[in-house]
């Protein structure tokens, strides 16, 4: 998981440098798009999704593949902003699911989203502490304690932007020791016991299992992150993309999201 961030960095750097690259792969993927005889979907479906969606989307992707034997679903999970940058640089994706509206706006502003993006889930911040809560953290006010080792996401990434809103709403002067590059990095430091608390998403606490405990933050209601999803205009396989979006927004998809700790509309 930690390796992923540097891979993404390289991918973004390469993407940024080859300003007009990426199109070739898209063309190649289109030619492999085939509709099988039973009217099902085929070819390759490429989904770019926020890192927090890793478990749910992988599961939903497998279900879609099971329904359409000719379909190969591939995911790239990373920070929404990195993914938005890749999409605008011409990465050959069919679907983009962002962890907040502003990164989806990067894609819609570039005219790359097919239709209005649909909000399919919401995530709310929670305090994560190592199992046993050694520092006795009880609420947001503890994140102002200088003597504790605390991690918060950097303001440049969605969970950090949300954290700033929450702190502002609560009037808490946070004293973080590190501003993490993505939410999973913050969570890792809790899992390792290297920080006493971190502000992460409820879904991350759910995913971390027993190593991490979650503490609800009433003030977090002020900064709920909406997750929009859209099929992309340059999608090599738009039919499969639409099918995936439908699955995510179906009752089945909503249940899977709820199980992972997301709120669903």
């Amino acid at each position: 998981m930690r390796i992923r961030s540097s891979v993404v960095l390289v991918a973004v750097a390469v993407g940024a440098l080859s300003a007009c690259g990426g199109g070739d792969d898209g063309v190649a993927a289109t030619t492999t798009t085939a509709t099988s005889d039973d009217g099902g979907l085929g070819g390759t479906l490429t989904v770019f999704a926020a890192a927090s969606l890793t478990d749910v989307f992988t599961d939903l992707g497998e279900r879609l593949e099971a329904d359409h034997p000719g379909l190969d679903v591939r995911f790239t999970f990373a920070g929404s902003s990195a993914l938005a940058a890749q999409v605008t640089q011409g990465a050959p994706a069919d679907v983009f699911a962002s962890a907040n509206r502003s990164q989806m706006a990067v894609v819609t502003d570039a005219g790359l989203a097919d239709g209005e993006p649909q909000v399919f889930a919401a995530n709310v911040l929670q305090i994560a502490v190592p199992a046993g809560n050694p520092a006795g953290v009880t609420g947001l006010a503890d994140l102002a304690r200088e003597e504790l080792a605390l991690a918060v996401c950097a303001p440049q990434v969605p969970c950090g932007a949300a954290a700033e809103d929450v702190f502002a709403a609560a009037g808490v002067e946070a004293a973080p020791d590190t501003l993490e590059e993505d939410v999973r990095a913050a969570l890792t430091k809790v899992e390792l016991g290297e920080v006493d608390a971190a502000l992460v998403y409820t879904t991350d606490v759910t995913a971390a299992g027993d190593a991490v405990e979650g503490i609800d933050v009433p003030e977090a209601e002020r900064a709920v992150n909406d997750y929009p999803i859209a099929v992309l205009t340059e999608a090599p396989n738009p039919q499969a993309g639409a099918a995936f979006v439908d699955l995510v927004r179906s009752e089945e998809g909503r249940q899977a999201l709820a199980d992972a700790g997301f709120r669903t509309p």
Binding site: R2, I3, S5, S6, L9, V12, A13, A16, L17, S18, A19, G79, S81, A82, A85, A149, A151, A154, Q156, V157, P176, D177, T178, L179, E180, E181, A185, T188, K189, L192, G193, E194
Partner: protein, 268 residues
């Protein structure tokens, strides 16, 4: 056998060499071409840039100094000692070269973190906590960069003529004196080259630093971390920051090269 030399570079060497230059230089040209020159002033005026740059230069220099103090003796041991298991030792100390730096960062946590094997003791007995401090930045950079120094100094030691050392020994110098007065001056250019490599690697270090030292402006946010985070929000700012880092490192290397590296090896 004819000893006349054809002028110029043979075509089988020239073509790949030109491709190599293009491969290495074009991305840099891309950065320069895409740079938002009009925004350069405002971008650089922010306090964060100066802070990150200063931290980068200080921590990379500290990491290089630490690498010199520890790495040169290690290179000597690898090149000169007859101890068994040297090849295993060499393989071990070069592992950071191939280890993904983020994994290196986690490994540093496991040893020097608050819950780490050594770090737990430091934390409890001495009240010293390393992660999320500038010290952690220097440690992470040293971990990743020191092998570059060790490898080049070891190469220089192997290439150096050991007969000078033998001569010093026959004249009554002990091994420590021989090392200081004969070996060290002989391999000085190799040490300088290794130090430059080490410094450059430390300056660009990202993965181990952001993992082990975290990211906080003024304390642990070096330039590569600032670039990465800028990229999340404002790619133009990231390009500007990269250019600053690029300019500083190229300027430093040129300066050192004139002052230091091109000087012929001053043998004793």
């Amino acid at each position: 056998m004819r000893r006349t030399r054809e002028p110029g570079v043979p075509v089988p060497l020239l073509v790949p060499a030109v491709l190599a230059v293009a491969f290495l230089v074009l991305p840099l040209a891309g950065l320069v071409l895409r740079a938002p020159w009009g925004e350069l002033g405002p971008q650089l005026a922010g306090p964060a840039v100066g802070q990150a740059l200063r931290l980068s230069l200080v921590s990379a220099s500290a990491a290089t100094a630490l690498s010199l103090v520890l790495g040169v003796p290690l290179a000597w041991v690898l090149a000169r000692s007859r101890a068994r298991g040297r090849s295993v030792l060499r393989a071990l100390v070069t592992v950071p070269l191939v280890l993904p730096p983020v994994v290196g960062g986690v490994a540093l946590f496991l040893v020097l973190g608050r819950q780490g094997i050594v770090g737990r003791w430091l934390d409890q007995a001495l009240d010293v906590t390393i992660p999320f401090t500038t010290t952690a930045v220097v440690i992470a950079e040293t971990f990743v960069a020191m092998p570059f120094l060790v490898i080049s100094v070891e190469g220089a030691l192997r290439a150096a003529d050991a007969r000078f050392e033998d001569a010093a020994a026959t004249l009554g110098a002990d091994r420590w004196t021989t090392f200081r007065r004969v070996t060290l001056p002989m391999v000085a250019p190799g040490i300088a080259a290794g130090a430059v490599l080490c410094w450059a690697r430390a300056l660009g270090e990202f993965g181990a630093t952001i993992t082990f030292a975290g990211n906080f402006p003024g304390t642990t946010q070096t330039m590569p971390l600032a670039v990465y985070l800028a990229l999340q929000q404002d790619p133009d700012a990231a390009i500007v920051l990269s250019l600053v880092l690029l300019a500083v490192s190229v300027a430093t290397l040129l300066l050192l090269r004139d002052r230091w590296l091109s000087r012929p090896g001053a043998a004793a």
